[in-house]
Amino acid sequence: MKRFTRSLKYVYLGLMLLFLYLPILYLIVFSFNNFAVGAGRRVSYSNLGRWNGFTFANYGTVFSGDAGKALLLTLEVAFASSIIATVIGTAAAIGINTMRKRSRNVVVSVSQLPMVNPDLVTGITFMMLFAFVNGLLVKAGLSQINDFVKLLIAHISFSIPYVIFSVLPRLKQSSDMLYEAALDLGCSPFQALIKAVIPDIMPGISSGFIMALTMSLDDFVVSYFVADRIQPLSVYIYSNTAHGSRGVNPALATIIFIPLVAMLLGVNLHRLSKEREYEIQNKKVKMKK
């Protein structure tokens, strides 16, 4: 009976994983599909359901045209915005941690707004803000804010809170003595932060950075409302999925999926080896005792 329920559990998990990965696998399989039907016909990815034979051709054209530009833009915005958000957010967390209770509460609750707000609302508020500012700029005879800057500002804004809320708990754990000890030992306040506080809260900073990166890479809604003339990957995909449009090259899915799997395996192997190291050290300590 026990063995039966255990295997039932694995069957359930397996089915759920199949459900989660089915569309990804489907795209990967169809990335080898021949979409150019008949000689010299224009490639259309819209018939994503009919198998016409095996080919690698889709991988040759995956970065051509707007798709490549969109992928590059997504990566640029993601890395630039999450680096800036990590710097501003970490500094903010250090500052917030030393604030008085009342002003801290105000800052913390306003910072939670982007996390509580639906993406849709965040997106349209930025759209309206930029429309308003651009209106003023045109009246003043100046040039409008460029789309890349708009995207960058929006992505930094919705990422910063995630950085702050992953650094703050870490700061609370670390002792204030560390900073004071560094000062007593002759560091300037800035040196004390760089040499003592930052290394201590590094795990919080790096998980904040990863969160910011994830949020930015995964964003569709905010970019959709903010950018008018340029398209990040998610907006490019959405605008090419309407019925009757050209469709999206399924090879894109493989291109995105493989680095993810590599990262997952890398992180897990790293953790497993760390765990083993820890076990070995524990054994050594016990033997010494």
Partner: protein, 267 residues
């Protein structure tokens, strides 16, 4: 130099780009082409069609949340009872799809529901049905339900379960009287993480529902995107204010259930 000053660049940023944009919703709701008027705002508020859409969205979002909870709870429970090293890897497998662009995944579902499954089983296309929309919504939000549940369940003190066994409770009683009540914080944050985005998901109804099941998000999106021109900012803003009220109310209700929440953050 005080460390407090380090927060100042952020505070300036926060005022400019987090607090100020929120004010524009209210500004554009009552300001049409530079004229202050409540007319558009009132027209939108009294448009019964919009309220009907809101009601349908709430129903669909509630159904999505309920299915996610029913399907996701066993996943999180099984994962939390596994050996640490195995559970880490398998739970990571559950969260990897979250990193993959969801528009692309939704697009794949459309191909599967429109061509692959109908061809395989000889049935008509499944897009444009309520079942298809619900399934893809559940698909998109399931990891957001599993993650907080898994976090809560894996931190559960296992000695409490032993205590319950020692005191004579069978597995079922232990689950319903000990595990379930202790996992309420996870359930609460899971529900908030699914319900709010589900009301505003406008891509799934557009791609899978063929426009048959427009949600409140589609209504707002169309007000801003399709009907170009500034006047319609007013309609969209008013709809967004209603949405914000709904979100605030649901968050408040959820917070009420989750008494030992610290700090009030969702994640």
């Amino acid at each position: 130099m005080k460390r407090k000053y380090f927060a100042y660049p952020y505070i300036v940023w926060m005022i400019l780009f987090i607090a100020a944009p929120m004010l524009f919703i209210f500004y554009y709701a009552v300001n049409v082409d530079g004229v202050w008027t409540f007319r558009k705002c009132w027209e939108t508020l009294t448009d019964l069609q919009k309220w009907r859409v809101l009601w349908v969205s709430v129903e669909i979002a509630l159904a999505t949340t309920a299915i996610c909870l029913l399907v996701g709870y066993p996943i999180a429970y099984i994962l939390s009872n596994m050996k640490k090293s195995v559970a880490g890897f398998i739970s990571a497998l559950f969260f990897v799809p979250m990193w993959m662009n969801f528009v692309l995944r939704t697009y794949a579902w459309r191909a599967i529901l429109e061509y692959a499954l109908p061809d395989l089983f000889g049935i008509p296309s499944m897009t444009g049905t309520l079942g298809a929309v619900l399934m893809v919504l559940v698909y998109d939000f399931l990891p957001f339900m599993v993650m907080p549940l898994y976090n809560t369940l894996s931190k559960l003190d296992k000695s409490l379960l032993e205590a319950s066994r020692d005191l004579g409770a069978d597995g079922k009683t232990t689950f319903f009287r000990v595990v379930l009540p202790l996992s309420v914080p996870g359930i609460v944050s899971g529900i908030t993480m699914v319900f709010v985005p589900a009301i505003t998901a406008f891509t799934v109804p557009a791609l899978i529902g063929n426009g048959n099941y427009n949600l409140y998000g589609n209504e707002i999106e169309q007000a801003f995107k399709l009907l170009a021109g500034r006047g319609d900012y007013s309609v969209g803003s008013t709809l967004s204010i209603i949405l914000l009220v709904c979100v605030l109310v649901s968050t408040a209700i959820m917070n009420h259930f989750d008494k030992d929440k610290e700090g009030g953050s969702i994640l």
